[in-house]
Structure formats: C-alpha cells, structure tokens
Assembly symmetry: C2
Homo-oligomer: 150 residues x 2
C-alpha cells in the first residue's frame, strides 16, 4: 500500500469515506457534485506545510482509505512537536484487512520522521471498537477529550 | 484583563507558568537564561497565522496567565474549523480569582470570531479539578484523548 498526500481530484472519494460512517452521516453533506465548501477546506489545508491530508492507495491504484495528520508546534515538552490524527477512514468494502492498522503504523513513522515526541487523537466514546483498535496499537486513553460546540 | 498575543520577551514568564504545575514540573526545562529550544518553538509558533500564543495581562500590566489557541482546518463537519486549546495556566499567586474562567470565555469568543464550529481540548484524567472546571464552562467529555509517546 502507498500512503501519499491527496490530490484535489480525489476529494469526492475522500468526503464519501468520511460521510460513510454512523457519525459522519449525521454531519456531512456528501453530494454529486461535491459542495464547494469541501474544496475550499481542501485548499486551506494545503496552504499549511504542517498539515497532511493522506490517502492510502492499494496495488490496483485505488484509494482505500484516508487520514489527516497535523504537526503542532507547542511550547510544552520543551518546545516539542505533536502529531495529531483526524478523520481516519477505510473504504467500507475494504475493512477487516488490516488496512487501518497499516495506516496508523505509517502515521506513527511519519510522526517520528517529523520529529514529533507524541502522536495523539481523540475518539468518540461511542466508538468502542475504534478505542480498542488504538489501544492495541499502543495508544493510552490518559486524557478526557473535551468538546464544546459553538 | 487584557488578552493578547505574547511577545518573545515574555517567553521566560510563560515557560515559568507552564513548568509550575505538578505535571509541567516533570517535563519542562525552565532555567535562567531560558534554553534556546523554547525560543525556537516560539518562533515556529509565530510562523503560522492559525496559532495564537496568548497572555493575560491584569490592570497593573502584569502577565497572570497563558494559553495556546490553534485553529484547525479540517474536511469534517462540512469543511469546518476547530479551535484547540493547549497549555492553559494561571500564575500560581493569582489562582482562585476567576482568571481561568475569564480566559476560557475569551477563548470561546475568539473561536467564534474565527468561525470555528467547535472548541476542543484534552485534559489529563489525573487533573480532576481541571475536568470539572471545563465541564462547568460547557465542555463535554465525549471523547477519549488517546496519546502515544514516541
């Protein structure tokens, strides 16, 4: 599998995967053609060299998953960098093949390459399987992920 | 109280506050003069227009607290922006005066101003008082905050 930055042409595929999920369904607006707001977001993401919207490409050249990595420069941990993972999805017909595990392993290596001391994510407490999945990969649920919708 | 971006000259004061905390003590390297790595981190933070390292200034012109706001452009939530809060500290001799509450209220307003649909943070499960504090301000601990040290 190949992990690389997404192109603008791949955005409909990515938003389809993000929407195709019990929580995603409730909050996304996936249509053909894809609403302009997603393209605007994509362009803004690509303005920052510390953001990487990634796709996973299989041997047939098909996009089978996505994740979004951000490298955050903080003062804490002696001026350390953290990698933050968002919006991890595997294409629905491709689950159960270990693709998610490979993807997170790739993200961990990418974070090390970028000099991050920590990789972090938040997972909805309703996503029990996801939490177990990340725990198996070494993540520790040491923090409360607190959100306030505005 | 005035909330504004920190200057480079204020960095020792900020790192002192970050270090002056049961968890901060274990992971920071606060010394006089302040180690260069903190200045390097400060300069990188200031390269990004989506990062705001904030200080709180009281009526006497003293720095009494700090927080770090980041605005994250994602694809999720229809191409929404999230505000993320890190490293919230109030100067030790200034706690118990409602300064933290004012600061988070300021951060919520700043997030709205920047068009964020959500403000988020993670809080170590050992910081019980902090979690209660954020809950009182409307944050919901809906997510596990998962971390993997590299």
């Amino acid at each position: 599998m190949k992990f690389r930055k997404a192109t603008r042409e791949e955005l409909p595929l990515i938003v389809e995967m993000i929407s195709n999920d019990p929580l995603g369904k409730l909050r996304e607006d996936f249509q053909h053609p894809l609403p302009e707001k997603y393209y605007a977001a994509f362009d803004k993401i690509n303005q920052y060299e510390n953001q990487e919207l990634i796709v996973f490409e299989n041997d047939l050249g098909e996009i089978v998953g996505t994740l979004h990595l951000t490298f955050l420069q903080y003062l804490t941990y002696q001026g350390g960098i953290r990698a933050q993972v968002e919006a991890v999805r595997v294409r629905e017909d491709q689950t159960g093949k270990g693709i998610g595990q490979q993807a997170i392993q790739w993200a961990i290596n990418r974070a090390k390459e970028k000099g991050a001391h920590l990789i972090q994510l938040t997972s909805d407490k309703k996503r029990k399987d996801a939490i177990r999945f990340y725990e198996k990969l070494g993540f520790v649920a040491s923090h409360e992920g607190m959100k306030l919708h505005l």
